[in-house]
Symmetry: C2
Subunit: 254 residues, 2 copies
DNA sequence: AATTCTATTTGCGCTGGCGCAAAGAGGTTT
DNA sequence: AAACCTCTTTGCGCCAGCGCAAATAGAATT
């Protein structure tokens, strides 16, 4: 289920400018992605011709909470972090979205502004379409509706899980769970373990688990001493997922 | 936006048996509810003829997490609490649903089991239909899709808010917020304030705010001394909403 | 009226994890 | 290579709020 990234090559070459439609978007960009997989080549062509593609630097916002939801997106490469910011300026990360998923489809849930801010967790590429096309997509493209609502359901499940975790678990369990979820969803097998596929700081992890960067740092240090994880600056590798599972569920193993 | 409860009278008379379709469901039951409000009388008739109505005692489950989602529901009267139960047996309340809303429409988000358990917070009445009719409703009834997805969006917003609250606020603020939300959504004006329209214990409130019944009790006692609320067994009345708003957002006064 | 059950209140001690502070360490720019 | 910046680590003290325990108070049942 990996994205053929060489397809994106020409997009990446585009450089940092927020550029509009490119010479030629290849149909194979979309053909394997669930929302579009049932469509004929001609339909894909139409869809691509209406799309705008753009590259986002690490940390760049794809859209902002509260902005009018005038476009919806398909993430082609990279990872996006969905965050909310409180009145007091604290950030809370709601979700990570991997390549191959739709995002910013506020329209699907009857909203006309984005409910949260989306930030590229790593250099990313996304296609986008004007929101007015949303209903067309839904009506005209077989399987599109079903798939997007599945995505919606999945994200609701994720949110629910986070609520339950925040409500019932200790910090150590929450961080362990977050780490496990990250390697499941965005993990990359490397020598000696599984590494999170994008740069992630202690601060980021703390925003994902409702704690402080200090506590996350202490936990990771402890785990590293016990050989559960290895970490460098902005990189975390899980060496012993099973031990983490134990931590995430049960009592502290000491 | 109140439900004409006399319409339900004959249903209530039905007693406690889990009964099937009743002699005659009146069309005015649905005509004013958003998902159906655009429909012709004949359509409503068809919908009602396919519906099963049932009364739920306080505390009775409408459906259980994990069960096959073979029916979807419209709450006609009462309130339903949506809860999840952790492996360790703790309950977490996700949401309260007031009369007039759909629930259990797992199908809409591509699921075939219920993602949570729904329990009647007070004696309640709901219509239900077999899930296989869902797609028919969506396709045939104008405005139905839009409305249900609005509901979905609203609930996602609620969940998001809870996540942010749990992640960033102190217990006192969370309880104040929960109380405010409850009186906004399900409040009933009574002498000297606004009362939550269904029986709710300290325990319930603690499951809604991720704390313990003890802490909730202490907070309510304190607030009662200061005249912000009045409470009896299973009943809470908010006398000074504004002061609660202050508590819910800012620093503890005093 | 007595019993039982559920809901609420309150006291007290303990601790997980936050806040503060300061020092290291790895990267990047000049 | 020096200066700067961001990220990480670690120590220490404190306190919000939990856990435990026990008393009280309404409702419901007998």
């Amino acid at each position: 289920m990996e994205l053929a990234c060489n397809l994106c090559q020409n997009l990446v070459m585009d450089g940092q400018a927020p550029r509009k439609t490119l010479p030629r978007l290849d149909e194979s960009l979309l053909i394997h992605l669930p929302p579009f997989s049932r469509l004929a080549k001609r339909q894909i062509r139409t869809i691509l011709d209406q799309a705008t593609s753009r590259r986002y630097d690490e940390g760049a916002a794809v859209f902002h909470e509260g902005d009018p939801a005038d476009r919806f997106f398909m993430l082609l490469d990279g990872y996006v972090r969905v965050i909310r910011i409180t009145e007091t300026g604290e950030q809370v990360t709601a979700l990570h979205i991997p390549a191959g998923q739709l995002l910013g489809f506020a329209r699907a849930i009857g909203r006309d502004t984005y409910p949260a801010t989306a930030v590229a967790a790593t250099e990313s590429i996304a296609l986008s379409w004007p929101t007015r096309l949303w209903d067309t997509f839904l009506a005209d493209y077989d399987g599109f509706a079903t798939e997007t609502y599945k995505t919606l359901g999945y994200r609701m499940g994720e949110m629910n899980t986070r609520i339950v975790e925040l409500a019932t678990q200790q910090v150590e369990q929450r961080v362990a769970n977050a780490l496990l979820r990250l390697i499941n969803q965005t993990g990359r097998k490397v020598d000696g373990g599984i590494e999170i596929d994008f740069p992630i700081t202690r601060q980021d992890l703390s925003e994902l688990t409702a704690t402080t960067l200090h506590t996350v740092s202490r936990l990771l240090s402890g785990w590293e001493k016990r050989g559960l994880v290895e970490s460098r600056r902005k990189r975390i590798k899980v060496c012993n997922p099973h031990a983490l599972v134990v931590l995430s569920q049960g009592q502290a193993s000491d």
